[in-house]
């Protein structure tokens, strides 16, 4: 089957990044993030002409996936589950890299939901602050403040880890 509408290319380029971003946004359940990504991609396909014409189709799919996850994670304890290395991280990665990533994700999982989402948009999807603001429907200053707050908390928590 050809790719006349460009969806196959979008899928190949964006799906891994979307799964990673949603994994971060939801606090660590990569399987749920993958399900949400696929669900969001199906919804994108239902209205692909409109979605592909958007400034950032990837941001739209992420937002749909995020909403899907919010409906799925109905228990706080589930949502705040820490990332599980054996389920999440690349087995080929170095043990030091895995340890460092685990430490980071544990800190990210402690962030408020909105801050985690902003971190995912900005640093995993790679949107600019203005694009994140557009995707969330908030002012750019709000995104800047959330990022600043998230970075401060992360630095603090990571410093505590090092001190232990």
């Amino acid at each position: 089957m050809g790719d006349a509408d460009g969806f196959d290319e979008f899928y190949a380029a964006c799906r891994p990044r979307l799964v990673r971003a949603l994994t971060v946004a939801c606090g660590g359940d990569v399987e749920a993030a993958a399900d949400a990504t696929d669900e969001a991609l199906v919804r994108a396909l239902e209205r692909w002409k409109r979605v592909r014409a958007m400034p950032s189709a990837e941001a739209w799919v992420f937002a749909v996936g995020r909403n899907h996850l919010r409906r799925r994670f109905r228990r706080r304890s589930t949502e705040r589950r820490l990332l599980q290395a054996h389920r999440v991280l690349d087995a080929e990665a170095s043990s030091a890299g895995v340890a460092e990533a685990m430490e980071l994700w544990a800190a990210v999982a402690e962030l408020p939901t909105r801050d985690r989402e902003v971190v995912a948009y900005r640093y995993v999807l790679g949107l600019t602050e203005a694009e994140v603001a557009g995707a969330l429907g908030v002012a750019t200053g709000t995104v800047s403040a959330a990022l600043s707050r998230a970075r401060t908390r992360l630095r603090s928590q990571l410093a505590e880890e090092v001190a232990r």
């Binding site: 899928y11 990673r20 993958a34 939901t113």
Partner: protein
């Protein structure tokens, strides 16, 4: 590492320091270590999408249900300890009871028993559904009074079942929601979900085993959790819902404002409108004493959202009246309507109730004081994007009254039509 230029820290407020650069780089590197599971291949996704589109078109051709989510409860912008996180309990088995049609209304009404949905005294309840003719849903939060002290608790409802739905809504063309969902009303063809008000907490509570000072003991203020349950069911059974409007009358009007973030977390971008038929919060510290809000917080386990300060003009203060700018800034794509009488006896009573917990008794809310407060609110909302304020010179708790309908409030029908049009 990605060389995507979007990762760069460039102009436009994205410039950060070297420590921040290092942290951002660490996040990106750690993200690369997340191994995405193999997903469904594109052809499978395409087939799923095609099936859904066909199904939706088939349903539309058959005149299928539009879901009108009419939240008829009293919801507050205040949120519980789980604020910001979805905390919907798993839906439990429900039993449907068909209730027939309202006179003059095409849709079938059904009552759904839900064992897990409890009143403040622990009685099992459920919610009502009216099937419409499309994929749009009105959630109606029914009012019930509030439980803040002995007198108010005695006066507030603590149970609702199929017979109540039949009597209050089905037999009366939508009852208190008739101006919105009855024959000829703006949302007449939408699906409607009626969430009963049975917890006396403006649908906002998340606290059980509460002894009310001067009132009953062991109360379950779980209105927000009940709403989560209903929303979870609606999301499961109506995945094709296109648009959602949240509405409520009387104290339910205030409830809708408070429940907006909760409904948006489930409906997402499909939430297009919020209609508060009554329940206005005048912006005066005298009319809405902070001690009343503190009392709500203590009894019902609610508080201001974490991101309150990001969306109100003065982050250093917490005033309930700032829910208007909060909602406008937080949900810029949602159209909000606040309706109010110049004298609202329900709201005047609500803002007095519970003040026995304050060190200093606030001044009674007089009719004149309330009128001045909503006049001030009228001026304030005139300059607030996203809000429309409909003020009628009457003593009423719900300007859209079933007897007069929406036409009695000048301009409202025209505003509502903008939500209904495709």
């Amino acid at each position: 590492m990605s060389e995507d230029p979007r990762h760069g820290d460039g102009p436009g407020g994205d410039v950060v320091g070297s420590d921040d650069d290092a942290l951002a780089a660490r996040i990106r590197a750690a993200a690369e270590l997340i191994e995405p599971p193999t997903g469904a291949p594109v052809p499978v996704l395409r087939r799923r999408a095609q099936r859904r589109v066909r199904r939706r078109r088939g349903l539309a051709a058959a005149g299928s249900v539009a879901v009108v989510l009419a939240v008829a409860a009293s919801a507050t912008l205040l949120v519980g300890p789980n604020h910001g996180r979805v905390s919907v309990a798993e839906p439990v088995a429900v039993a449907d009871r068909a209730l027939g049609r309202s006179p003059g209304v095409a849709g079938e009404w059904t009552w759904r028993d839900m064992e897990a949905l409890k009143s403040r005294t622990g009685k099992a309840s459920g919610y009502g559904i009216r099937e419409g003719a499309g994929d749009d849903l009105l959630v109606y939060l029914d009012e019930s009074g509030v439980c803040l002290d002995g007198d108010s608790c005695r006066a507030s409802a603590d149970g609702f079942g199929a017979n109540d739905l039949r009597r209050r809504f089905v037999a009366r063309n939508g009852g208190p929601a008739a101006p919105l969902i009855g024959p000829g009303a703006p949302f007449a063809g939408w699906d409607v979900a009626v969430v009963p008000g049975i917890t006396g907490d403006l649908h906002s509570g998340r606290q059980s085993g509460v002894d009310v000072p001067g009132g009953p003991a062991g109360q379950r203020f779980v209105g927000s959790e009940n709403l989560d349950l209903v929303l979870a069911w609606l999301a499961e059974e109506r995945p094709n819902t296109q648009r959602v409007v949240l509405a409520g009358s009387g104290s339910g009007g205030l409830a809708t404002l408070l429940a907006t973030p909760q409904v948006e977390r489930v409906a997402g971008e499909r939430l297009v409108g919020v209609i508060a038929n009554g329940g206005a919060v005048p912006g005066s510290g005298q009319i809405v004493p902070s001690c009343v809000v503190r009392h709500w917080s203590l009894l019902w386990g609610v508080g201001y959202p974490d991101d309150w300060g990001d969306h109100v003009p003065d982050p250093s203060t917490k005033r309930l009246a700032d829910l208007y700018p909060y909602l406008a800034d937080r949900f810029p794509n949602v159209a909000f309507a606040q309706l109010s009488g110049t004298d609202d006896p329900t709201m005047r009573a609500l803002f007095r109730t519970g003040t026995d917990q304050c060190d200093q008794q606030p001044a009674p809310v007089t009719s004149a004081g309330f009128g001045a407060g909503v006049a001030s609110l009228d001026r304030r909302l005139a300059n607030l994007k996203g809000w429309e304020f409909f003020l009628v010179d009457e003593t009423t708790s719900a300007p859209l009254a079933p007897s007069d309908g929406a036409a009695a409030v000048p301009g409202f029908l025209k505003w509502a039509q903008t939500l209904v049009e495709p």
